[in-house]
């Protein structure tokens, strides 16, 4: 073997007095895939950024890193790397041209289509090319951000959670593609918390834990799906969509979707990236106005967000898919979480703060972390803070858009336990949007599958596992769930 | 004189945009006058003491009672070669006394006494003008604004044909007049072959002169004059008694209907300080009578002095203590607002509160004519009889002090009808005494008029504005 493409020696990092990383060393050779695997807040992003040659505000990095001058880097907040003012086709075309300046237009177009296919955009490339980033779903944007990197064909890539928000099929496609890329001699450093990715990539995994990185045993056995004893309440549906259709300009995102969640029930929503899951959530949150149909809470039509009063706001809470970008960067996380309590429940600021800190602690955030500004927290930490912010309102309807992406298994279990506990205590209706079918199977009372904006299946986990649900077999197989164990 | 000819001479005057014109019957701005002076001639023009001197006329003689004036014309030619004849004079008079266009003829009121039906051409070069009432000051009236002679039958005043030293070439309103030397000018061909009269704002006039884009700049601020004095290659002319600054008390309404209040005000003004500050020292204190340095000026009257205590006493006498007065002013001329505020400070020493009200400079004089108690103004040089006639008679169109005094009116009528100049002077003196004692005008300063020219030239015009020697470029030489 030749020289490693990426060599990290004695990497340390500290933020103020806190040590984030300690003596991390590893190599990535050409054609090799190294995954950094570990719990949220362990320091994975810090390592990835260091390798990509980026400094993190407030963090001082020590140690020695050898890496090629040009490393393709996908930050954890992938969508943020898309220029909002440029059409995707143009943006990718430009990057392709960087690599092949003399290419003819047609060839270039073909190359762009190829890159898009690599990140699992199969259909209608023309329509896609003309769109601006804000016209895509969260997962689609992450993939587009990845596509930008692939378009430049770098010799080394650092990817921070590329599979966030990807459905299992897309995830499979993307990981396969990355594996193939490694086959062409590209060195890949991958950050993930997702054991499936680790496994599929056939990579060398490093376990990042408390700021240290060590070799890892083959990924832990994925937990066996344990089905929840479903207790269908059968009562009046608390949250309901009636024949809802949503359009974004000329793109139709939902067609005639009906859906009901009763109090005390968890309904999981699954579907390919771009299927319309977030749009459903946004209907409840009052962020989009259905072109047809209504969203109801307690039988009463939901108003657009800006028209809701405090009680109505508190009743329906939504956890953003891109949690990090829903925080005001200039105000401490704790204050932002507490604000919910102050505004929606009329708590005093001291009480609200205490309650916020308690809740955050329960979700695994220390007081010190909570008192930082958002840029000082890891992606997973912010996601939990976003959940806390919603929970503090004591909502009757909680809509979670991929709250557990980017969280390692024990932590996500803890989060979901908390949500379950809350649901049971208060009889709230919970809508869980997730790509993590495995987890969802164990948590949801019912699962709604979406495809191209239509409900294709509404089923229970049990029925699903028993193979009765045909619409989801693809997703199931991609997650190796096809064969019930 | 006599030297080489001057190719092009550019003189820059204070411009006024679309207002400007070259119709000699209506133009009333200084720049209009400068242009008219280049293109036309009047029968008479006034000299620096405001005494009429013959120009296109050779002489003017009244009959015994001053009701008919016989005027002999000079042997002069129009720019188109025609001779100047009596009919031209009669046509000019008929024009300015006839129906006006959108812009009135200025001389309509000064020449109001002319009786056209009785006037006639005696021969080609003699004209007899009849007046409806006697006036031995008629020649002064004939030298006023708007009286320059136009050709008989002239209609097109956009392409003027005059008798003046320069021949019209082109005119752009608000920008420039170009004129060329008229070889057959009766007073000799000008040395300047091509004369440009340009209009520009105050600062631009200074800049243009300093930058060599203009050879002559008129109406410079005191500061500009000071600046230029310090720089070489430029000669600054400062003509005294060229602008008379005043406060005008409306004598027909309280508190100024009481002569003692007027007397008090005359003692409330520290004229020296006003001149020093408002006129930046470039002028002299005035003495509440108009026309220092002009014919008939009463210069034997003792100077009114600043005496706050005396003013207070007078006010007490008038029962007008703790007086509050509105002083209406506007940035209509340089130094107005400054003078108003300064005067307010000075008056405060006599216990009088003066509220300075600042109006719009564009319409100030029209507004000030009728409104307010105390207004201010500046007057260009004007023959003293004209000053009396246009501002101080009961029916005067410009009666800024609403001065209505039968004794005064009678004296004026008597003066006009008096053929002896000495006796007239005595009557005017009487009138001055009245005004000095209890008139409505508080004349506080006689400003100098600053103009400057490149030192390359000689015989640069430097008369008081409105007078013969002001803005006369036909004698300029190298």
């Amino acid at each position: 073997m030749g020289e490693p493409v990426i060599a990290v020696r004695g990497l340390g990092a500290c933020a103020g007095a806190a040590r984030i990383l300690e003596d991390v060393s590893f190599d990535v050779e050409a054609g090799e895939v190294v995954t950094l695997f570990g719990p949220s807040g362990a320091g994975k992003t810090t390592i990835a950024m260091a390798v990509a040659g980026l400094s993190r505000p407030g963090v001082t990095v020590t140690g020695e890193i050898t890496a090629p001058a040009r490393v393709g880097y996908l930050p954890q907040d992938g969508p943020g790397t898309l220029n909002p003012a440029r059409r995707i086709g143009r943006a990718l075309g430009e990057l392709v041209a960087l690599r092949h300046p003399k290419q003819a237009k047609a060839e270039r177009r073909a190359r762009v289509a190829e890159v898009l296919r690599a990140v699992a955009f199969d259909e209608d490339p023309d329509g896609i090319l003309r769109r601006y980033p804000h016209q895509f779903s969260g997962g689609q944007r992450t993939r587009l951000a990845l596509a930008q990197i692939l378009a430049t064909e770098p010799g080394a890539i650092v990817l921070d959670e590329p599979a966030t928000g990807l459905d299992t099929l897309a995830r499979a496609a993307v990981t396969d593609r990355l594996a193939a890329l490694a086959g062409t001699g590209v060195a890949i450093l991958l950050v993930t918390h997702d054991p499936v990715v680790v496994e599929r990539m056939d990579s060398r995994a490093l376990h990042v834990h408390d700021g240290t990185a060590g070799p890892m045993d083959p990924p832990a056995r994925r937990p066996v799906v344990r089905l929840r004893e479903s207790t269908p309440s059968g009562g009046e549906a608390l949250a309901r969509l009636e024949n809802v259709s949503v359009r974004y300009g000329r793109t139709a995102a939902l067609h005639d979707v009906s859906l009901a969640v009763s109090g005390g029930e968890t309904v999981g929503i699954v579907g390919a990236s771009g299927a319309g899951k977030s749009t459903i959530a946004r209907c409840f949150a009052g962020l989009v106005r259905p072109a047809r149909g209504v969203a109801l809470a307690d039988g009463v039509p939901l108003l657009p967000l800006r028209k809701r009063n405090a009680a109505q706001l508190a009743a329906v809470q939504y956890v953003w898919q891109e949690a990090a970008s829903s925080f005001d960067p200039r105000r401490t996380v704790c204050a932002q979480v507490a604000a919910t309590g102050i505004r929606l429940r009329g708590l005093g600021s001291r009480d609200a703060k205490a309650e916020a800190l308690d809740l955050l602690a329960e979700l695994g955030l220390t007081a010190a972390q909570a008192n930082r500004y958002p840029p000082g927290l890891s992606g997973g930490q912010l996601r939990r803070a976003a959940l806390a912010r919603a929970l503090l309102a004591r909502p009757r309807i909680l809509v979670c858009d991929e709250v557990t992406t980017g969280l390692d298994h024990p932590l996500s279990a803890r989060i979901l336990d908390h949500i379950d506990g809350y649901r049971e205590r208060t009889g709230a209706a919970v809508l869980q949007i997730s790509h993590d079918l495995r987890t969802l199977l164990g948590r949801a009372d019912r699962i709604v599958a979406l495809d191209h904006g239509r409900v294709v299946e509404t089923t229970t986990p049990r029925a699903l596992l028993s193979g009765a649900a045909t619409g989801l077999t693809g997703l199931l197989e991609a997650d190796h769930l096809g064969d019930p164990s | 004189g006599g030297g080489t000819s001057i190719d092009t001479f550019s003189a820059v005057f204070k411009g006024s945009g679309a207002d400007e014109g070259i119709d000699p019957g209506v133009g009333h701005l200084f720049i209009d006058e400068a242009r008219n002076k280049a293109l036309y001639d009047g029968l008479f023009e006034v000299d620096d003491t405001m005494r009429p001197v013959p120009r296109l006329a050779e002489s003017g003689e009244p009959n015994a009672d001053g009701t008919r004036w016989r005027i002999k014309l000079r042997d002069a030619r129009w720019h188109d070669g025609k001779k100047v004849v009596a009919a031209d004079v009669l046509y000019t008079l008929a024009r300015v006394l006839g129906p006006a266009g959108p812009q009135p003829f200025i001389a309509a009121s000064t020449l109001e006494a002319v009786d056209l039906t009785q006037s006639r051409a005696v021969d080609d070069r003699t004209v007899e003008i009849a007046l409806s009432r006697p006036s031995f000051e008629f020649l002064t009236a004939l030298s006023a604004y708007g009286t320059r002679i136009v050709q008989d039958g002239a209609k097109d005043f956009d392409h003027p044909v005059g008798t003046g030293p320069f021949r019209f070439a082109s005119f752009q309103r608000g920008k420039q007049l170009v004129a060329t030397a008229y070889e057959d000018y009766w007073d000799g061909k000008p040395a300047i072959a091509r004369l440009r009269i340009l209009s520009a704002d105050t600062d631009a006039r200074l800049t243009a002169l300093r930058g060599g884009q203009a050879d002559f700049a008129d109406d410079l601020t005191p500061a500009a004059a000071t600046t230029l004095r310090g720089s070489g290659g430029v000669t600054v002319n400062s003509t005294p008694n060229s602008g008379i600054y005043y406060f005008a008390m409306k004598t027909d309404r309280p508190p100024f209907d009481n002569p003692d209040v007027r007397r008090a005000l005359m003692r409330m003004a520290d004229r020296d300080e006003l001149v020093k500050v408002a006129l930046q020292g470039q002028g002299e204190a005035a003495n509440d009578v108009f026309g220092k340095g002009f014919e008939y000026y009463a210069d034997d009257l003792p100077q009114h002095t600043y005496d706050p205590d005396e003013a207070k006493a007078l006010l007490r006498k008038a029962g007008a203590e703790n007086l509050t007065i509105d002083l209406f002013t506007a940035p209509a001329a340089s130094g107005f607002v400054e003078a108003a505020h300064l005067f307010a400070e000075q008056a405060a020493k006599s216990g009088v509160t003066i509220n300075v009200r600042v109006g719009s400079g564009d319409t100030y004089y029209s507004e000030a004519l009728t409104s307010g108690q105390l207004t201010m103004g500046q007057s260009g040089p004007l023959p003293i009889p004209n000053h009396f006639g246009s501002r101080l008679l009961t029916g005067s169109p410009q009666n800024r002090t609403d001065w209505k005094d039968p004794e005064f009116d009678a004296l004026y009528g008597q003066a006009l009808a008096t053929s002896s100049a000495g006796e007239r002077a005595a009557l005017y003196h009487r009138m001055h005494e009245i005004l000095y004692d209890r008139g409505g005008f508080l004349f506080w300063g006689n400003a100098s008029w600053n103009s400057a020219a490149s030192s390359d030239y000689r015989n640069i015009p430097a008369g008081v504005p409105n007078a013969l020697d002001w803005a006369r470029f036909d004698k300029v030489s190298r």
Binding site: Y73, G80, L95, I149 | G17, P102, G211, S366
Partner: protein
């Protein structure tokens, strides 16, 4: 695309209304000034009777509303009436001012965009650097020196001191000016300095903000060339606010250029307007405001259109 067409159409329809309101407002304001054209023309020498005659001859004795509507009716047919002050047709009065201003404004814009763009980017790309400090200081300095001081100093130093350029354009008409561009150098310098100063600061602020965005970092990392990075990636996101400032042409042309016109004796629209206001010459005032208003509103439409195109976040509707 059909949607922007609709946007433009609707804005143009609204624009017609805006111009109408603008004209009405300006007319109303001009009435609020004391006196009228007859009063202004009245010098120290006219009597009240003469003024009344003048008023009648100018048609000032009819009600202002009638005057306004009559003017408007004629203006629609392209006839702007007759100037009160000079008695000439308004179109003749304003032709040269507009030509001068068009040249001045056109050249300024041509120079402004590269100057302000360059300086704004140069400063914004390296905030805190010496270059930035200098550029910021210079632009703030230009912004805080009154234009007339700048103009007068420039004239004193460059024209009178060094004699490089003529100090004023006194008595020079437009064709001559174009033949001998020396006349335009100083006025343009002042204009560009004045207008560019605030723009530089807005561009700089925009650039700094945009450069901190992850998509710019990413583009840079992916090896996008400098030029493309500036023009295609940073500029569209950073220039919005600065363009809004550019959109102030309406008032800018009318009042901002005034100083330059006055100092350098350039007979442009601004001086023409001020003269007309001074003369209470309403036909001329209205004609000037009509034309500049149309231009300004059109420019605003274009700028809003560009703004939408450059940052396509909101939907057309």
């Amino acid at each position: 695309m059909t949607v922007p067409t609709r946007f433009v159409l609707r804005r143009l329809v609204l624009g017609a209304g805006q111009v109408l309101i603008l004209l009405a407002l300006v007319f109303g304001l001009s009435l609020l000034l004391p006196g009228d054209a007859a009063d202004v023309q009245n010098s120290d020498l006219f009597s009240a009777r003469q003024r009344a005659e003048t008023r009648q001859l100018l048609g000032l004795d009819v009600s202002p509303l009638t005057r306004f509507l009559t003017w408007l009716g004629h203006a629609v047919t392209g006839d702007f009436g007759t100037s009160y002050a000079s008695g000439e047709p308004v179109s003749a009065v304003i032709a040269e001012p507009f030509a001068v201003t068009a040249v001045l404004a056109g050249l300024t814009t041509v120079l402004l965009i590269p100057v302000a763009g360059w300086a704004g980017f140069a400063a914004g790309l390296r905030p805190g650097s010496a270059r930035d400090r200098v550029l910021t200081a210079v632009s703030v300095l230009f912004d805080s020196i009154p234009d007339f001081v700048l103009a007068v100093l420039l004239v004193a130093a460059v024209a009178l001191g060094l004699g490089w350029f003529p100090a004023t354009s006194l008595g020079v008409d437009l064709p001559m000016m174009l033949e001998e561009p020396g006349y335009l150098v100083l006025p343009l310098t002042v204009m560009v300095a004045r207008v560019a100063a605030p723009l530089v600061r807005l561009v700089r602020a925009g650039v700094i903000d945009v450069c901190a965005q992850p998509y710019i970092e990413q583009a840079r990392r992916l090896g996008v060339g400098r030029v493309s990075l500036l023009l295609r990636h940073i500029a569209p996101n950073a220039l919005g606010p600065a363009m809004q400032e550019l959109g102030r042409t309406g008032d800018g042309l009318l009042s901002g250029v005034l100083i330059v016109e006055a100092v350098f004796v350039l007979p442009g629209v601004a001086s023409a307007l001020i003269d007309a206001i001074g003369d209470r010459d309403q036909p001329v005032i209205l004609a000037i405001v009509l034309i500049t208003g149309v231009v300004a509103i059109a420019v605003n439409v274009v700028i809003d259109l560009l703004g939408q195109l450059m940052t396509p976040r909101g939907a057309w509707a």
